[in-house]
Amino acid sequence: MAETKHNPANKTRRTGFKKRDLTGWFIMLPTILLFAFFVWEPLIESIRLSLYTAKGIRLQEFVGLQNYAKVLKHPDFLAAFSNTFVYILWSIIIGFFVPIVLAILITETTFFKSFFRVGIYFPNVMPGLAMVLMWGFFFRPGNTGVLNIILEKIGIAPQIWLTNPKWTIPLIVAVMTWKGAGSTAFIYMAGITNINPELYEAATIDGAGILERMRYITIPNIFALGKTLLILQIIAVFQIIYEPLVMTNGGPNNASISIMQLVYNYAFRDFNYPMAAALSVMMSIVLIILSGMYFKFTASKED
C-alpha cells in the first residue's frame, strides 16, 4: 500500500491500469461469488418462482401474473398493506424525533454525559427477539403484566395494552424506538459534534439562549442528516416483521399484521411459496423506489 502512495498517480494509471484492476477484481472475487450465490441468484429465482405454480419450491407451470392477482385479492393483503403505512406513520411520529431530542439533550449535558450515552445505547445491546419477548411480559393484560402491576401500585386500573386494536401499532413502534433510538441518536450526536463550535460561541456572544442556538444552528446543520435517516428508517420499518409476529401474531383481527408477516404466513404457514415470492417482488419494487430516493438525497447532500 505504501508503495502505491509513492508512485506518481498518473504513471500507474497509464502503465499498470489493467493489472491493478485485476488485483481489485481478485480481491472482490470471493465477495462477488458469495453475493451471486446467496443474494442475486435467489433474487432472480424468486422472481421466477412468483410467475409459476409450485409444489413446495419445485416449479410446476407458468401462470404469468396470476399469483400477483391472488395476493391482491387475499383477505389479509389490504390490512397488511395499510398497516405497513400506519407503522411508518407512527414510526415517524414517535421514532423519528426521539433520537434527535435525545442527541441534543445529551450534547447539551455537562455532567454524566457518558453515563447517558451508555444508557440510551444499552437497549440496543439486547437481542431483538429477547427484547420483544420481554416487552410481551410488560404488556400482558390482566394482573400479571409488569406494566399493570406498576399501574396497580399507583392505583390505576389494569390496561389491555396490545389487545386494544387502536394502540397495538403505536405500542409496537414505541418498543422499537426504545430499542433503536440510542444508535440513531449516536449518529445525530456525531453530526452535532461536527458543527463548528465557533458558531455556538458567536451565537452565545450575541446573546442567543439554548433554544435559539438550537433553532438557528443545531437543527439546520443536522437537517440533511435527518433527511437521510428518515428514508433509511422508512425502508427499515417497511420490512417490520418479528415485533408484531411475536408480540401479537398480527392481531387482534389483523390490527398489526405487516406485509412481511404476510409473506411469512404464505411461505411458512401455507407453504405457498409462489405467492410469498410474488408479494416479496411487489415489496422489493417499493423498496427499490425508496432506495432510489435515498441515493438521490445523499447525493445532493454531497454536492
Binding site: E3, K19, T23, F26, I27, L29, P30, L33, L34, F37, K55, G56, I57, R58, K70, K73, H74, P75, G136, R140, P141, G142, N143, T144, G145, I160, T163, N164, P165, T248, N249, G251, P252, N253, N254, A267, F268, R269, D270, F271, Y273
Partner: protein, 482 residues
C-alpha cells in the same frame, strides 16, 4: 521489491478465492454423502439383504430420557428381525418453518409425525410418500378408521398412518373444581353439561378461586378450530357443498349466536384468561396444568400436556364430554398422523412400518406389538401421564381388545373421571370431522373474529362474520373451487 509485493498480494487473493471455493467444496462433498446414502438405500430394491438406513423423526427428544430408553429397547427388538437396517435417531419436531427446507433438500426423516392440520397440505405439496401399496400388502388399509383414513388420503391413495385419533372434550383441572366446591357427594367434579352451564360454572370458579374458568384460544388457527366445535353445538355449519363447489356459510344466525356466546364469556361473565389473543394450543395446556384456568377444550391424545409437561398431578385431570349447545352435541375428531418422506424407498417405508408395529402403534395384535404397548404404558405411569384408552383409530377388533387389556393393566387413574367422555364419543352421530373445503383458512378467519370480539366490547358480530364469510369464500374460490 515491488514485484514481490504484487506477487504476495496476488497470492493472498488466490488464497482467498481458494478458501471460498473450499467452503463450497465442503458443501458439495456432504451433498455427495447424502446422495450416496440415498443410493445405498436404493440398492436393496435389487438385493434385499443389503444394508440400508432409516431415519426416525419420531425419536423422542434428548431430554425425555425415559422415552429414549424405551425407544432404544424398540430398536434392539427391531434389529433382531432386521439386522441389515441401521436405525438413525433423528428427532424432528414438526414445524412449518423448517419443514419445507428439510423436504426439498432431501433431509427429511424417513418417518415423522406431524400435526392433525397438515396432511392435506403436505400431500398437495408432494412432500410425503404414497404408502398405499405397503399398507395394502399388510392389510392395514382396511384396518384404519375410515374417517381418519380419508383425512390422510387423496384421490384414493393413502399417505399417512394415524398415530392417535382424537375427539375434543373438555379437560378439567380437578384441583380448581375442588377449591371452588364444585364437587358431588362422591368427590367427582360437577362439570357443565351445556355451554350455558359452562358459563355459570366458570363464573363460580372465577369468583371462588380467582382463576379463569375457561381457557379460550384466540392467537392462531387453533382458536377457530375450537370455535368451530362450539358453533356446531349451536347448529352452525361453516362450509356447504353446492353443485360440487364449496360455499362459505360463516355468517349463519347459528354461527353468530355461537360468537355471541363467546362474547358473553368475556364481557358478561368475564371468565376467560387474561389475554385469549395470546393463548395457543400449548399455552392452553399450560394454563390448565398450572391451575390458572379450570376448563379447556382438549382431547384424549394430549393428556401428557397438563400432567407430564405442566405438572398437574395425574389424578387431578379429568376429561368430560364437550358441552352440548342448543342444537346438539358434537365432538370434533381427527387424527394425528405419521407420515413418510417423499424420498423414502419402499424398503425404508416397510422397515418404518415394522418399527411402528414394535412400538405397538400398528393395527396388529402380535406379541411384539403388545410388548410395545406395555412398554409405552409403563413409561406413562413412570412419568405421571394418565393411561387411558386410545381413541379408536383402528377398526380391527383384535387390536382394540388388546389395547384395552393393556390399558386396564396399567391404569393409573380413576376412569370415572373419563368414562362420560368415552361414552359420549361412542354415541352415534357425536363425532364430526373438521369442516371440508379449506379448514385452515376458515380457522384463520374465525380467529380474527374471535380476536375482535374479545378485544372490543362493542364489536359488531354480524358485520365481522360477514367479512369472514366473504374472505373464506375468496379462499375457497382460490384454492378448491376450480
Amino acid at each position: 521489491m515491488k514485484k514481490m509485493k504484487r506477487l504476495v498480494s496476488m497470492l493472498i487473493c488466490i488464497l482467498l478465492v481458494a478458501t471460498t471455493l473450499v467452503g463450497c467444496k465442503k458443501n458439495e462433498t456432504s451433498a455427495v454423502g447424502a446422495t450416496t446414502e440415498g443410493v445405498t438405500a436404493g440398492v436393496p430394491a435389487a438385493a434385499p439383504a443389503e444394508k440400508f438406513q432409516i431415519k426416525l423423526g419420531i425419536w423422542p427428544e434428548d431430554t425425555l430420557t425415559d422415552d429414549v430408553k424405551l425407544h432404544e429397547g424398540y430398536v434392539k427388538t427391531f434389529n433382531e428381525k432386521h439386522p441389515n437396517v441401521e436405525v438413525i435417531p433423528a428427532y424432528y419436531k414438526y414445524a412449518t418453518d423448517t419443514f419445507v427446507s428439510l423436504a426439498e433438500s432431501g433431509n427429511l426423516p424417513t418417518i415423522f409425525d406431524t400435526w392433525f392440520t397438515e396432511p392435506q397440505k403436505l400431500i398437495n405439496g408432494g412432500f410425503v410418500a404414497d404408502i398405499t401399496d405397503e399398507l395394502k400388502a399388510r392389510g392395514w388399509d382396511t384396518a384404519m378408521n375410515p374417517s381418519i383414513r380419508d383425512m390422510l388420503s387423496k384421490d384414493g391413495r393413502i399417505y399417512g398412518l394415524p398415530r392417535d385419533g382424537y375427539a375434543l372434550g373438555l379437560m378439567l383441572n380437578v384441583e380448581l373444581f375442588e377449591e371452588a366446591g364444585l364437587i358431588d357427594a362422591n368427590g367427582y367434579p360437577q362439570y357443565p353439561k351445556t355451554w350455558a352451564e359452562l358459563a355459570e360454572t366458570a363464573k363460580t370458579i372465577k369468583d371462588k378461586t380467582g382463576q379463569a374458568g375457561f381457557c379460550l384460544l384466540a392467537k392462531d388457527g387453533a382458536g377457530g378450530w375450537h370455535f368451530s366445535n362450539i358453533a356446531w353445538g349451536f347448529g352452525a355449519t361453516f362450509t356447504l357443498e353446492k353443485d360440487g363447489k364449496y360455499v362459505a356459510n360463516v355468517n349463519s344466525p347459528e354461527a353468530i349466536a355461537a360468537m355471541d356466546y363467546v362474547k358473553s364469556l368475556k364481557w358478561d361473565y368475564d371468565v376467560l384468561t387474561a389475554d385469549p389473543t395470546n393463548e395457543d394450543w400449548g399455552t392452553g395446556f399450560g394454563a390448565l396444568g398450572t391451575g390458572t384456568a379450570a376448563m379447556y377444550m382438549a382431547a384424549n391424545d394430549a393428556v401428557n400436556q397438563p400432567t407430564q409437561v405442566n405438572g398437574l398431578p395425574v389424578d387431578k385431570l379429568s376429561i368430560v364430554p364437550i358441552p352440548a349447545g342448543p342444537k346438539g352435541q358434537y365432538s370434533l375428531s381427527g387424527g394425528t398422523p405419521y407420515m413418510f418422506s417423499k424420498d423414502a424407498t419402499p424398503e425404508q417405508i416397510n422397515a418404518a412400518l415394522d418399527y411402528l408395529e414394535i412400538m405397538g402403534k400398528a393395527p396388529v395384535a402380535t406379541e411384539v406389538a403388545i410388548a410395545g404397548m406395555k412398554a409405552d404404558d409403563q413409561n406413562k405411569v413412570n412419568n405421571n401421564v394418565p393411561v387411558i384408552p386410545r381413541f379408536p383409530c383402528w377398526v380391527d377388533q383384535k387390536v382394540l381388545d388388546a389395547e384395552k387389556a393393556v390399558t386396564e393393566e396399567y391404569s393409573n387413574v380413576d376412569m370415572k373421571l373419563y368414562n362420560d367422555y368415552f361414552n359420549l364419543i361412542k354415541t352415534n352421530g357425536n363425532l364430526r370431522a373438521e369442516e371440508p373445503g379449506s379448514a385452515q383458512d376458515l380457522y384463520a378467519e374465525l380467529t380474527k373474529v374471535l380476536q375482535a370480539v374479545i378485544t372490543d366490547k362493542n364489536a359488531d358480530i354480524p358485520a365481522l362474520m360477514k367479512t369472514a364469510n366473504d374472505n373464506y369464500q375468496e379462499m375457497l374460490d382460490q384454492k378448491v373451487n376450480k
